[in-house]
Amino acid sequence: MGVKEKKDVLLMGIKVLDLADEKASFCPKLLADMGASVIKVERPHGDPSRDIGPFWKNSSHPERSLFFQYHNANKRGITLDLEQSVGREIFLKLVNKTDIVVETFLPGYLKNLGLGFEVLSDINPRLILVSVTGFGQNGPRSKYKSCDLIVSAFGGSMYVSGSPSTPPLKPFGEQSYYTTSLFGAIAILLALRRRTRSGNGEHIDISMQEAVTSTLDQVMVRYFYDQVIPERQGSLHWDSSFCILSCKDGYLLLTLFQQWETLVELMDSEGMAEDLIEENWKDEEYRLKHVDHIIEVLERWTKTHTTDELFKLGQLMRFPWAPVQSPRGVLESPQLKARSFFVDMDYPQIGTSTKCPGAPYKFSSGFLNRRKRAPLIGEDNISIYGTELGLSDEELQRLSSLSII
């Protein structure tokens, strides 16, 4: 399953223009990882997502954003100012040579520039345009500004995370951008299949809020079927099946009800089951009612062990337990190492290479597990504008002096 010849790449020949900022730059990256050819189109001074940290050596700089680096690996990069008419002319030339455009502007922005779907589609009827916005292309909130925080609030992930005594809590790390990007990539591959039959591209409309709401597992199901409004309950899982307890050296996620008798035996063998060995605790209803007591007794036991001891012991007995790991723990995970999950990525700007999360799937046809670092600002201007679009050196000079590229 190593690096294969180019003809074997999953999405060979698929061309993508990536106008997306941080909200959806992961969408073209998913396709780039599968072998699509992706050109990141940035405004002349670079994409605003280059201002998002963390940064290499913790110092803010557009070429040092690790956020930008991760989301734009395996892409080539050019600069272009769509707000100048010459820039738009060049953009249309690029559109003519691409399969897919991904953008994250507010609804109507491209249309006002004369670059709406109808115009692009006239030039290239096979074009698939993906528009990612906070709330979708229509509806009363379509013009609202958005970011991960805003759509996590509207979408429902915040209200149910955190504890009753804390404010609602946003999932860590721009999760809405990832789920939106996954839906976007799925939409693109669906549209490509329809295009194979019809010959025509189409306009895809992805709402980040809808993407968040559709990842809520039981939350909306319980509302519609059980008339329940799910609340925050700290680390206690909604159905009390899981809870996080402290150990000697950290925290462990463990189950409270599964294989009850085995659990009690485990604790009892160390003399720590207390009253849980009594008959009344065998009744599941009773346990659910007195879950606080179970947690207290369990925690007295977990505190006498390390997370690693209980993780190993638990898994041996088929309990779905796990340590609450930090990113450091993830980097050191023996399972991820055994599966070569992390790949090396050259990072010459900082004079080193880095370990980078790879792909979560292994395709038997092979997977291009290369990691080309993200492009520098305008890095591929000459090869793409010059070699591929055929602009002369003089034209490139002029465009550059006008700050169009």
């Binding site: 999953l10 999405l11 201002d51 998002i52 991760y70 979708g136 009363p140 909130r141 970011c147 925080l149 805003i150 759509v151 609030a153 429902g156 915040m158 149910v160 404010p167 809590l169 946003k170 999932p171 860590f172 790390g173 789920t179 799925i186 939409a187 591959l189 299949r193 194979t196 895809i204 409309d205 992805i206 809808e210 559709s214 990842t215 809520l216 597992d217 039981q218 199901v221 509302y223 079927y225 799910p230 700290g234 899981f242 996080i244 925290y251 779905p320 609450v324 790991q325 990113p327 993830v330 980097l331 023996p334 399972q335 055994a338 599966r339 979560p360 799937y361 395709f363 038997s364 046809s365």
Partner: protein
């Protein structure tokens, strides 16, 4: 103008679906929404709990699919499973890694029946490695990936998300993998095997934090709703009028800050030198949040967010399930729709966030009852006679 049907996209694609719980059914639901003929295989003996056809949970994640029963613990069931594979394009499963092999249904066996088969195995840890047999649910994976640790207000009180998010992520990656493998099959004529690890899927969504830990050797701490690496201030979740009502506000630039000050009526504290630039506001975020929170607490979240957004300030209502069910924006986009279930009656289903402009999806159906499509699948598709079918049913092989 005639609108294209969403379901036409994967028309003709047949998926033999051995998945259960959430991760797998989430993946095949996406394929079913766009017209694949997804045949969900259930065993009457194990179709309880969240796999019971009369629960809202099952009905939500299995809409648009067909359902058959097959008792895989019976030795003769394998032969039928192989025949079903022969008429399918895709086989997908999310058991522990040993299950399909124990049934004699691993990829090596199946591709002999169907040469260009696409088989996708979804598991918690992947099909290989020391932990391949570990047991894990969504919360387990979230804990292992760092997501739970970092979604907390303090490292001494880990909380995490209030739902099984990792299962959904694995489902999305699996749907993407099926479509990419189809693209490859169309071009090369070859099928393939795909091994998906939910643990790895979750870790791909922790990328920047992992790079930070590796390259900078930083100890990455949970920061609640703080802006942290986001260039914004104020940025956070603020209390509003009413019981457990909240709003969020994120101010990225000078223009938005001035608009916020305008909406607040230019309170004197907002002229303070220490709030005069973004970096100063970030440095004094705690104090800024405190002052802003005193102002937001006087308003309902809905009216405040409306005022702020109209003035160009990014803001949002922290919506609970009821707010979402009644959300005018989702209503305008027909995000929730009514479907009629033969036993549960009128039920509410969410739409797909994948929207093709002008397309319609008014031909959706609820999840199958247990074995609802046995007759269609076994006689019409597989070619069993009525007698054979009733014999298999009698002997508990189809059941």
């Amino acid at each position: 103008m005639e609108y294209p049907m969403d379901k036409a996209i994967l028309n003709g694609l047949r998926v033999l679906d051995f998945t259960w719980m959430l991760a797998g059914p989430y993946a095949t639901r996406i394929l079913a929404d766009f017209g694949a003929e997804v045949i969900k295989v259930q065993c009457a003996k194990t179709a309880g709990g969240v796999e019971s056809d009369l629960t809202g949970y099952f009905n939500t994640w299995n809409r648009n699919k067909r359902g058959i029963t097959l008792n895989m613990s019976h030795p003769e069931a394998r032969e039928i499973a192989l025949r079903l594979t022969g008429i399918s394009d895709v086989v997908i499963e999310n058991f522990s890694p040993r299950v399909m092999s124990n049934w004699g249904l691993n990829y090596e066996n199946l591709k002999e029946i169907k040469g260009d088969l696409i088989m996708v195995s979804m598991s918690a840890m992947g099909q290989t490695g020391f932990w391949r047999d570990f047991v894990a649910y969504g919360p387990t994976i979230q804990a292992l990936s760092g997501l739970t640790y970092l979604t907390s207000f303090s490292k001494d009180a880990p909380m995490g998300l209030g739902y099984s998010y990792a299962d959904v992520i694995a489902g999305l990656y699996a749907a993407l993998a099926v479509l990419a493998a189809l693209e490859y099959r169309d071009r090369t004529g070859k099928g393939q095997y795909v091994d998906i690890s939910e643990y790895e899927a979750m870790c791909t969504l922790m990328g920047p934090a992992i790079l930070d830990a590796y390259l900078n050797n930083n100890e990455i701490l949970p920061k609640g709703n703080e802006a942290d690496h986001i260039p914004a201030a104020p940025y956070g979740c603020y209390r509003c009028l009413g019981m457990d009502r909240w709003c969020v506000i994120a101010v990225f630039n000078e223009e938005e800050w001035q608009s916020l000050r305008h909406v607040m009526g230019y309170p004197s504290w907002s002229t303070n030198e220490k709030f005069s630039t973004l970096s100063k506001r970030k440095a004094h975020a705690d104090e800024l949040d405190e002052l802003l929170g005193q102002w937001t607490a006087k308003y309902t979240s809905e009216e405040l967010v409306c005022l702020l957004q109209e003035a160009g300030v990014p803001a949002g209502v922290v919506q609970n399930a009821e707010d979402i069910a009644r959300d005018p924006q989702l209503k305008a986009r027909d995000y929730f729709m009514k479907l009629v279930h033969p036993a549960l009656g009128m039920v509410t289903s969410d739409a797909s966030p994948v929207r093709f402009s002008g397309s319609v999806s008014d031909d959706w159906k609820t999840a199958p009852l247990l074995g609802e499509d046995n007759h269609y699948v076994y006689t019409e598709l597989l070619g069993l006679t009525e007698n054979e079918l009733s014999l298999y049913l009698q002997r508990g092989i189809i059941g």
